[in-house]
């Protein structure tokens, strides 16, 4: 058995909406993601990148092919809480304070109250929201809500983070700050991250590898290793190599788009 965190082979997904209404969302996906990698899935909307993430997380069943997460079936991995998930919408529960939102996954794991509180406080410090512990989601800005969602996903210390356009709804400035914070977090915790985005600069700045996907049916069109030096800092975005990689990804995306299916 390979020691990959995520190992995907021959994966396909067909949505059957009844009758002739068949949509082939993904076809023939092979992908290996090693421990500690930061892999971005990028592609035009409708290319099935979010679907792929949901298949890894066992939120959808595959039509064909296999997925192995941490050496297990995705279903087993989900039951073992092997991954944390962050959605495009923060998806905080309105009726819970920030602290209790972060405690939610720990409650599901039946962690005792004192330990839950300790972990939540630690995570609040990590995302720099300690003074908002008692606030309710509606009292926070979009960026702060998303930070709470990230803290929540880290609550049970999963080795794998699945992120579905987590910064998609944020303004550019907040987005860049959140990217820095995420980089910092990733470096400090050594998690494996699978990150869905449709922003080329975001994918290049964050990732160790960018997976370019083609639209309907979604396939892996190219894999580009991002060899920018670590740690990624503010000036990384001004590095000529950064622009070079942006161009590479952009060209592969265009190529994927034009390729007849």
């Amino acid at each position: 058995m390979s020691d990959a965190t995520v190992l995907i082979s021959g994966l396909g997904k067909v949505f059957n909406a009844g009758g002739d209404n068949r949509v082939v969302a993904l076809e023939d996906i092979d992908l290996e993601i090693g421990p500690g990698e930061f892999v971005s899935l990028i592609g035009p909307s409708g290319c099935g990148k979010s679907t792929l993430l949901r298949l890894i997380g066992d939120l959808l069943p595959p039509t064909s092919g296999t997925i192995v997460v941490n050496g297990k079936e995705p279903h087993r991995a989900r039951l073992d809480r092997d991954y944390g998930m962050v959605f495009q919408k923060a998806t905080l529960l309105d009726w819970r304070s920030v602290r209790r939102n972060i405690e939610l996954p720990l409650e599901m794991m039946e962690v005792n109250r004192a330990e839950r509180r300790r972990r939540a406080d630690e995570l609040l410090r990590l995302v720099q929201l300690s003074e908002f512990a008692g606030h309710y989601p509606w009292q926070l800005s979009g960026g702060m809500q998303q930070r709470v969602a990230i803290a929540r996903a880290l609550a049970f210390e999963p080795a794998l983070l699945l992120m579905d356009e987590p910064f998609g709804a944020l303004d550019e400035m907040t987005r860049e700050r959140m990217q820095m914070e995420l980089m910092e977090l990733w470096r400090r915790t050594g998690r494996t991250v699978v990150f869905v985005t449709h922003s080329i600069p975001e994918a290049v700045f964050l990732s160790t590898r960018v997976v370019v996907m083609s639209p309907r049916p979604g396939r892996v069109a190219a894999e580009i290793t991002i060899d920018l030096p670590q740690p990624r800092v503010f000036t990384t975005r001004e590095d000529p190599r950064f622009f070079d990689l942006l161009t590479q990804v952009r060209e592969r995306l265009r190529g994927a788009d034009e390729e007849p299916s």
Partner: protein, 269 residues
């Protein structure tokens, strides 16, 4: 002199009074004055439409009688409300749990909720005895049942799909999802149903009593006084009924604020 910290609070209270309450109070007083003026100017007979001042006078005279009748009726309304709501919530849990039952049951519930259930009052009298408060509670319970049930089912089932996905990613059991997501999600729906139901409950109790009821009850009092053409007394009883209705409603609003301070309708920046 007030203290430095009390002054702004005092000011904001004055401002709230001016912007929130004063217009409402003003409109109310204006309405009464208009009513009084219409009766005087057009010389409308007292038994057709009494002046507000006349109603107030009779209200003061008859206060103890009307209020004791009012409390009997309120007891019936609240009793029916509790029975109907409890049954509705229990049924809603079952219905929302099983798709097939929901598909089958909801059209009937929606149809029944627009049926004139108050028409059952004479039948309830025949079943339980017209002087038995149970006959009124039964009508109220049936009236309250449908809006509460429909709304609870909506609240339990119209859940943000991403919240369900989140819970699934935690490998949460159906019970955990019910407790942590569906139930809190249903609360706003439940309370808006309770507000509608509180008005229905009082209407149900009073109108049921028009078809006969315990001697000392609001509906019985109103229909008797009206048949003696003592309409000012009937109006005084209607006034009590209205006050009880408002009080019932406000009680529900108060509980709502206590139970779900997080909700949009209550938030204060």
């Amino acid at each position: 002199m007030t203290t430095a910290s009390a002054t702004p609070r005092l000011w904001s209270a004055v401002r709230r009074l001016r912007t929130h309450y004063l217009p409402a109070i003003g409109l109310f007083v204006l309405g009464l004055a208009f009513w009084e003026a219409v009766v005087v100017v057009f010389d409308i007979q007292g038994f057709l439409l009494p002046k507000p001042s006349a109603i107030a006078r009779v209200y003061v005279q008859e206060q103890s009688v009307v209020w004791s009748a009012g409390l009997v009726t309120l007891g019936e309304a609240v009793g029916g409300f509790v029975i109907g709501s409890a049954a509705a919530i229990i049924v809603a849990f079952g219905v929302s749990r099983w798709n097939m039952i929901r598909e089958g049951a909801m059209p009937f519930a929606v149809a029944a909720s627009s049926a004139p259930i108050i028409a059952l009052a004479p039948i309830a009298n025949a079943w339980f005895g017209s002087t038995n408060p149970i006959s009124k509670m039964a009508v109220v319970a049936v009236m309250v049942f449908f809006p509460v049930m429909i709304n609870t089912v909506r609240g339990l089932t119209l859940v943000d799909p991403s919240e369900l996905e989140l819970m699934r990613s935690y490998a949460a059991s159906g019970w955990a999802i019910l407790r942590r997501v569906r139930l809190p999600n249903a609360l706003p729906y439940l309370f808006s149903a309770f507000k509608v139901a509180s008005a229905l409950a009082l209407i149900g109790a009073i109108v049921s009593e028009y078809f006969g009821g315990p001697r000392n009850a609001l509906g019985v009092y109103i229909s008797q006084q009206a048949s003696f053409l003592k309409l000012t007394n009937a109006w005084a009883a209607i006034l009590v009924g209205s006050m009880l209705g408002v009080a019932f409603y406000l009680l529900i609003v108060a509980v709502e604020r206590m139970v779900m301070p997080w909700h949009v309708s209550i938030r204060r920046p």
